[in-house]
């Protein structure tokens, strides 16, 4: 299945937002105006962009510390996202969660976890709820290549298959888990082949190709929505700025990073849209310009927002505030 022209533009629209947002975050950190642990997903724009155009606002996602793209693509308001990573009271989570724990149920962003592997078992529960209520939602669990080696992956995929849950497991294989090459931690060549261990379809796709990624997402989402159960998608990609902001790249092969950056999917897709006649330079530039302004505004909003009141430490521990 290939995207319609509108969907192609929507994918680009999301990619533009994600890419510029990431660039701005890194710039603000570099400038010293914000201090936060930041796991840049730059380079991985295609995956959540293509997936999100196939999702409704009601659909759920569970994602991980590297999930800023996933959250934004799903619809988290840029302002609130910025305020959260800045630790402000106006953030999605009142500043309590921070960049690794973006939550925004209004956009379907239900859990963002910092524990490798943990997005998957919880995604099952959300999907189980949809199955029970018949609300027609699907749930996407995002995770990395390294996460496919931890026990929670196995338990979650097995359960999802047994219960035919409307869940899609999206493994963004970016070649590394922290500083460890995929092949050092992962015994199988294709992570998507692991789907067979759960009698589940496994799709191997170029996660930097928006059209292919869209096809894979559609197929898995349609299947889930039709009640036919889960799918494992391995989307091959690369992260352009290491594991965490400030990392060196000594553990990478000489020239590896540069080679990947040279194939940056963003300009490639942008050029393709123009070449195919799906969009004009002016249209895309307008989208980009709007995002630049929106992100600028979000950053200023965040940086000028108040910090949470210290009393907040006692709030939301339980629904009711307990005396210490």
């Amino acid at each position: 299945m290939t995207p319609a022209r509108d969907e192609k533009i929507d994918i680009f629209r999301k990619m533009s937002l994600l890419k510029q947002n990431d660039e701005r975050i890194r710039a603000v950190i570099k400038s010293g105006r914000l201090v936060l642990p930041y796991y840049s997903p730059r380079g991985q724009e295609v995956i959540p962009s293509a997936i999100s155009v196939c999702l409704t606002p009601d659909d759920y996602i569970c994602t991980i510390y590297r999930g800023t793209h996933d959250s934004l693509a799903k619809g988290v308001p840029v302002k609130q996202l910025w305020a959260e990573i800045a630790g402000r009271a106006t953030g999605t989570c009142k500043g309590k969660g921070g960049p690794m724990h973006i939550t925004h149920p209004a956009s379907g962003v239900m859990v963002t976890t910092g524990i490798v592997g943990s997005s998957m078992p919880i995604a099952n529960g959300l999907a189980w709820a949809s199955q029970l209520s018949g609300d027609g939602r699907v749930t996407v669990a995002y995770f990395g290549d390294g996460a496919s080696n931890i026990g929670a992956f196995h338990e979650a995929l097995n359960l999802a298959s047994l219960w035919r849950l409307p869940v899609i497991f999206v493994c963004s294989n970016n070649g590394y888990a922290e500083h460890t090459k995929t092949c050092v931690g992962t015994s199988v060549d294709r992570i998507s082949d692991r789907a067979a261990a759960y009698a589940m379809p496994g799709i191997h796709v170029d996660g930097n190709d928006p059209i292919a990624m869209y096809g894979a997402a559609r197929q898995a989402i349609d299947r889930a929505r039709a009640g036919e159960g889960p799918t494992l998608i391995e989307a091959v990609t690369f992260r352009f700025f290491g594991h965490v902001f400030g990392d060196d790249d000594a553990y990478m092969d000489e020239g590896e990073l540069e080679a990947h950056r040279a194939k940056d999917p963003y300009p490639v897709y942008r050029a393709a849209l123009i070449a195919s006649g799906d969009a004009t330079e002016a249209e895309l530039a307008a989208i980009e310009a709007a995002h630049a302004a929106e992100i600028e505004e979000a950053a200023e909003f965040a940086l000028s927002s108040p910090y949470p009141d210290s009393r907040e430490i006692y709030v939301d521990v339980y629904e009711e505030e307990l005396s210490a």
Partner: protein, 336 residues
């Protein structure tokens, strides 16, 4: 409340009544469905037949998947009761319980909540050895965001389970194996919930406060009744909930008696007795006849051999000796 019932029946009844009252209540865990016998001890018997196999699901042996499914469903508005068969098996699901269930409300700034119940069993003296008998409630009590209760009788088990299910936050409900099977007083009154965080005055008394919970309540009552014949008057507080602690009841009682013993099955070192003892000393300094006595299991894994298991466990004899020693002090203590 009157009549007898087993704790197994009481929990079963609570699950039944809760599922009937609220279609959002779900049950999941290993062997919980009726096709699988309705739980290894029959605690979930009849539920899948009555409420359907989609609300009562037998799972693979995969405690992370069980807890994850429960957490996700809870966030989406359901009220899952997840069984982790034995408390030692919570060790394979600690990430889900501690990093997720306990924290998601806070980390989301209150946008999501995780109203789930973890049912689990444990307890030594069944000969199950080192990996099937531990009381680990201190771990969970140390974790902000969780509530922990350990009932000692059918009425409490029933009423606390209703409260746990109704609670907006994750609760751990611990069933003590050696007291699950026999018919015990009191049978619950249908529909009567017992509030979390409130201790039960199991016996009023004026000389010494025994603070305990779960199976140890029986030892405490036995010792109290025995010593009553010698005019030693023990007050017995059954905590029911370990976190949050009912400090009002604890301090009220100890302020009155001037002496306290915390008596639990978990290993004494770094156990819940330490928190309770510290708080009593902090609040009632200068008003105690003697330091708070902590009685718990020996600092060892649970041994298999009966002789060693008995040595491992805190006993009524230990408790009795402690009471006697505290009451001996009574005579010597300054008035007031």
């Amino acid at each position: 409340m009157s009549g007898k019932m087993s704790m197994i029946q009481a929990v079963n009844l609570a699950l039944h009544d809760a599922m009937k009252a609220d279609p959002k209540v779900l049950v999941l865990g290993e062997d919980v469905g009726d096709a699988e016998g309705g739980g290894i001890l029959g605690i979930t018997k009849g539920l899948s037949q009555t409420f359907g196999a989609s609300r009562v699901k037998s799972t693979p042996i995969a405690e992370q998947a069980i807890m994850g499914a429960a957490i996700g469903a809870a966030i989406a508005g359901y009220r899952p009761v997840a069984e982790i068969m034995l408390m030692n098996f919570t060790t394979v699901a600690m990430d889900m319980i501690v990093n997720h269930a306990a924290k998601l409300r806070f980390m989301s700034g209150g946008q999501t909540s995780v109203p789930l119940v973890i049912r689990t069993m444990t307890g030594a003296s069944m000969g199950n050895g080192g990996q099937h008998s531990d009381f680990l409630e201190a771990w969970f009590a140390h974790t902000a965001g969780l509530k922990v209760c350990i009932p000692s009788n059918p009425a409490d088990a029933y009423g606390l389970m209703l409260s746990c299910i109704a609670d907006p936050d994750p609760c751990i409900f611990v069933e003590t194996m050696p007291i699950l099977f026999s018919q015990l007083p009191d049978a619950p009154e249908r529909g009567v919930a017992i509030p979390l965080g409130k201790a039960r005055l199991a016996r009023g008394g004026s000389d010494v406060t025994i603070i305990t919970y779960g199976r140890q309540v029986f030892d405490a009552m036995q010792v109290a009744n025995k010593l009553a014949a010698e005019n030693i008057d023990c007050e017995v507080l059954d905590l029911r909930t370990i976190s949050p602690l009912d400090m009002d009841s604890i301090l009220g009682s100890v302020a009155k008696t001037g002496a306290a013993i915390v008596y639990h099955e978990a290993v004494k070192n770094f156990g819940t007795g330490a928190e309770i003892s510290s708080r009593i000393h902090e609040q009632l300094f200068g008003k105690l006849r003697a330091p708070v006595v902590r009685i718990g299991a020996k600092f060892a894994p649970v041994p298999f051999a009966k002789s060693l298991e008995d040595t491992f466990l805190p006993s009524a004899a230990d408790l009795e000796a402690a009471v006697r020693s505290l009451v001996g002090d009574r005579a010597l203590a300054p008035a007031g």
